[in-house]
Symmetry: C2
Subunit: 205 residues, 2 copies
């Protein structure tokens, strides 16, 4: 029996009940689950099968805390530029993201998802999507966020990330305090056309 | 019973047996399957839930043929720049891609996967990965390729793609002539570190 048989959740359920889980319990994730999650990530396709990605899995509490501090600095720096200076001023659509500024380091594992080549922009995203779905199948919640250029170099230094690699996402992994469930998305007819852009696709109705 | 229950394949099997399928039968794909594939694509996460993607599903034979011609032009233009001028000169690792230059338009459906915003580079890739996995669950093969700047503007014009949208991938969909099965990937210990880049992750052994 291949190890991946443990990811037994139907792919439809995994895809359609994948929502961002930002509030997680501190409970540790078993090593065997972490391995399977990263193996699933690594199965993603890439141009020329170059697999231009690397993941730094952070379990160390002090490092998680430092990463959260730098994340918070970059997060608020972006809001300050838009005239937002206190949590009360954060608009409703941004409140869920605000939560990460206080909760990020509570997760048992944080992951820096990096690209190691740049022929195709942000190619690690396909691997990250596999990672989310494999975590979901194991009952582990995930979400991801971006750092921002203000602190990028300092985070790279902190984690020894080489100059030619680029951090694309911080992924948070942990057992959900809430529930998985459907996310809010556009109806399919709005994201697909038939033969020409803007021409309705009859199959999408 | 939700429609997505038809995507019953275990997510582990979908992820670990997803390989690029380039030789496909011309048999049409049922509309209900196309709808489900694009719905799955649209469930992918994106920054701020902006869902900055649009798909043009091409079924029209003449349009598929024209797209193949432009793809072939761009494909060979890149090889010519590297001194490769005939199929015999194409190196082994590039042979599978060469196949697409003659087979692309045989697929019942080609898809232009586009981004409609560029805050995060190439964000449609997460949706494309969902699309591949949903297709896999329905027994439909898929692969994707990139166009190249030489012909990008002409393809945008042909399919009425607005100036602020960007074509990221051509996705080919069709029933496989060969089999699904494991793809060749790096061992997990090579793509993941613990706490610092380059520090071995014990869980990955």
């Amino acid at each position: 029996m291949p190890e991946y048989d443990r990811l037994a959740l139907p792919v439809g359920e995994a895809i359609f009940t994948q929502r961002a889980i930002r509030r997680v319990k501190p409970d540790p994730i078993p090593d065997a689950d972490l391995k399977l999650i990263f193996e699933a990530a690594g199965r993603a396709p890439s141009a020329g099968n170059r697999q231009p990605w690397h993941f730094v899995a952070i379990k160390d509490s002090a490092l998680k805390q430092k990463l959260q501090e730098l994340f918070v600095e970059a997060w608020w720096e972006r809001r300050h530029r838009n005239g937002i200076h206190t949590p009360e001023q954060v608009p409703a659509h941004d409140r869920a993201a605000l939560r990460l500024t206080t909760e990020l380091a509570n997760a048992p594992v944080l992951v820096l998802a990096c690209t190691t080549a740049h022929t195709v922009p942000n190619e690690v995203l396909a691997a990250a999507q596999n990672l989310h779905l494999a975590a979901r199948a194991l009952g582990i919640g995930s979400t991801f966020t971006r750092l921002g250029p203000t602190v990028d170099e300092r985070v790279k230094e902190l984690f020894g990330i080489p100059g030619d690699a680029q951090i694309q996402y911080i992924i948070q992994l942990g057992y959900p305090q809430g529930n998985f469930g459907p996310a809010n998305r556009k109806p399919v007819r709005e994201i697909v056309s038939l033969d020409k852009w803007g021409q309705p696709a009859p199959f999408a109705n």
